[in-house]
Structures are given as C-alpha cells and as structure tokens.
Amino acid sequence: MPLSVFLLKLKGMMKMADMQNSNVEIMLKDIGMVYKTNDGRDVTALTGVSLDIQKGEFISLLGPSGCGKTTLLRIIADLLQPTSGEISIAGESPRDARLSKKYGIVFQSPVLYDWRTVKKNIMLPLEIMHIPKAEREDRAMKMLDIVGLTEFANHYPNQLSGGMQQRVGIARALAIQPQILLMDEPFSALDEFTKEKLHEDLLRIWAKTNKTIIFVTHNIQEAVFLSSRICVLSPHPGRLSAVIDVDLPRPRTMDIKDTPEFTAYVAKVRNSFEGI
C-alpha cells in the first residue's frame, strides 16, 4: 500500500476515534455525487455537502425536486456510494453502520408486505436479524403501542388507510432499535389532516425515544414545525445553501403554526433558496 494512502487511512481512523467521543452522530465532508444519464451526460446531483449531525437532533433536508436531498439520504443509508467526499456514521463507514443496524429507514410509500399482517410486517427485520421469537413479539407489540395501532395487529395492510400504513412503516423502522431514523418524504402522499396528526405523533415518538432523525421533505412548513435544524438544499447542482437553526420551543403543537415566530422562520427558510 503506498504511503500516501496509508496516511490518509490513518487520518480517517483518528478522526473516527475522535468522533466517538464527541456528540456528532453523522459527519459528512465534501460529499459529491455525479452520475451519467442514458445519453452519456454528467449530472451533478450533489456537490460539496459538508455537515455535522448531532446525536438526538431532528434535522430536515429541505428543497425542491432535483436538489439532491433524497440522494443525500440514500448516501447516508449506504444505498448509494458518493463519488467524492467522506462520511462516517457513529464512527463507522455507512456500510458498517448498515450492517450493524444503526439506522431504520422509512420511505415515501409504506412498502408493507401485503401478505403479512401488521404485526408480522413489524417483525420482518427482526426475523432477518435472527432475534428469538418471544422477543420479536414483544418488540412488535411495543412498537404498535408507540404508534397507536395495537388493535390492528392482525389486520392486513390493504385494510388500513394510507396514514395508518405509514405508521406501521415507522413502527417497523423503530423495531430494530436503531440510533438513527432516516425518513424520505414519509408523509408527502397523505392528506393535510392525516399529515398534521402524524406530525404530532412523530414528535411524540421522538421525544420518547431520543433518536437522531433525518427527515427529507419539500414542504417548508413541515420542516419548520418538526425540526431543530433545517438544511436547505438548492438544485442545479445540488448543494447545501443554508443551515438554519429553528429555535421554537418544544413540545410543539399545531397552535405554534399561527405564531409570528413560526411565520418568520418560514420566510427565512424560503429566502435562503438559491437558483429557483
């Protein structure tokens, strides 16, 4: 192994060791993602994204379509490999973090298995992790309780509404007891009323479980209501144009949306978009 590469690896390892002592859960440095389209062009989905995500914070990745927010989430989830930059999650590479089940992921559509009951859907990752049956059942029931769907344990997904299915998706992600929850526009397919209820449920779950939540959305109000910090991403090329702290008091309820402070944050976020 050439010396330069060795030194780089050493530096990376030292940084990771450093991270384990600090409060930083996820460290992104200069992340870039370039891919080729069918006609051979280069598309820069992300460029120069650097960010430190603290333990237990609720952070949103906010932006219009094409700004790379989903790409960024997928990079963190090790579903995509960045073309440049470094990333470490709780002191590990994304791959190791995935293999050690450090995160749970919730997609835009619930992605439930039609042929499994609600309870069995939640138990799916636990089966894969070879967790013994008794504990699987126990955890599944606890998760159902947290999302408020205990009576529907033996229903099938097609008997549930969209919002309820998404709650099952969240329960399933929580079942593996991850440190981090990755959510990719989980509520964008739902109507406003269901969305508001789920916002409150999500904040309640977050307060109770203290996970680090990375939440992708294109809805400014949603981001301001839920997050402690908002990363504003702008497209063409996808980049981080601003990171805004949201200092609204917690616990947050619907009424906060009527306050002038809330409106001010929404305006601030909106103005920080570039190139739209």
């Binding site: 090790d78 992605v111 097609n158 509404s161």
Partner: protein, 274 residues
Amino acid sequence: MSVLKRLSKSKYFNTVLWIVILIIVWEIGATVVAATKRSPENILPHLSGIIESVVSKDTINGSQTAVQMVLENAKATISRALVGFGIGTALGFVLALFMSRFKTVEKIAFPYLMIIQMIPILGMAPLIFAITQDISKSRIIIAAILTFYPVATNTLAGFKAVEKEKHELMISYAASKFQLYTKTMIPSCIPYFFTGLKISAPMAITASILVDTLQGGIGLGCLLSQALKGAMSRYVFWQIVFLSAFIGIFSFLLMGIIEYVLCPYKRKGNKQEE
C-alpha cells in the same frame, strides 16, 4: 320486480343469462337439425338426449354404463396430466428463480423461452412419442413443456415486479440473498405464479387428451378416437366432449380456488379510516 332487479345486479346473473341463451340457441339448432338430417345425434343432439344417456343405466360394453366408462377414462387422463403438470410447474418455478437470481441464466434462457412459446409443441406430439416410444412418458413430457412456459414467464414477471423500495429495505436490513428471496421475492410472485398456473392447467389437460389419441388404451383421447370411428353410441361422443370441456374449465377454476385459499390477504378488503 325488485327481486328481479336485485338479481340482475348480481355478478353471476349476466353469465347465467348468457348460458341460458346458449342453451336455447343449441336446442333450437338441435330441433332444426333433427328435422332435416339423417343422423342428427352426430351433429347437434338435443341436450336432453345427452343428459338421458348420462343417467341411463344401459351398459355399453357389457360391464359399464356409458357414464362409468367415460368417467373411468377421464380419471386416467387427469391423473397423467397431473404428473406432467406437477413437473412442469416445479421446473418452471425453479427456472424463474434462477433467471431472477443469476443474470447470465436469464440472458441465455429468455430467447429460448420465447421460442418455446412460438413453436407449436402440441403439434410435435407424434414426434415425442416416436422418440420415447412410451406413451406415458410422452404425455408427461408434453404436459410438462406446456406447463413450464407459462409458469416460468409469469413467475419471472412476478419477481421483476417487486418494487425498488422493497429491495432497498432488504439492503438496509443487511439481509442475505437467501432471506431476500424467501421473505420478499417468493411471496411477492405468488399471484403471478397462479396466473401462470391458470393458463397452463387447461393446457396440460389438452396435452394429455391429445397424446391419448396417438395410441389406444385408457384415456379420454383414446375413447374419443374410438367414438369418432363409430365404435359406440353417438351420445358417448358428446359426453366425452362435454366432460373434456368441463375438466378444462374446472382445472382453471381449481387454480383460482387454491389461490383463494392460500392467500387470505387478498380476500379482505374493507379499508379502515384513521
């Protein structure tokens, strides 16, 4: 009036209505034929005549009534079709599995699968018989080939229809390929698998009957050849025809019933609200 109206809204009313129309047209045709032809039973017998021959207790060949003989032959045909059907299903499913798991297998096998669809396998029945010189083996081989294609292509379509997010979910759980298949891919493809079965079940029956016609012995096809040569009453011929049709339709429905039993999640449909 309201009873009739309620009935007419039911799903089955339509089908029943048309069956009734068909029967009426048949009977009219039979009457016309009876008035103008020498041996009307050949062409279009009255349905009553057929039913009469079914329930009649007269023996045909000294030991069995018409119905008994037809049923006995039917049993033989079905049981052999079953073997070919079973083999074809198993092979088709396994091939689809391999094609899904290994891209190379898919690339090689796909055009040949297409070719199997395009060439008339049933037309090659005499040849397969000549190669194997064994009527039972040829029956099984042909039924297996005819079953194999729809099962393989439909099951493969089922595997391919698994949405990207389900794959990503499995990746996020660091699931092994084995777990991916057993927990996700195989259960997903079941509806498609049954579509393949519904297509191939009647074909296996057809194959079995057809191979029967190539050589004497027991089986609906053999009986059919004999009946065509005039070796027995015309009504036996019609019994065979109707029974074959019925078996074909029934095998199709049977697959649907099995699917209904195996997939409880498809039945329930009433959506809850928040």
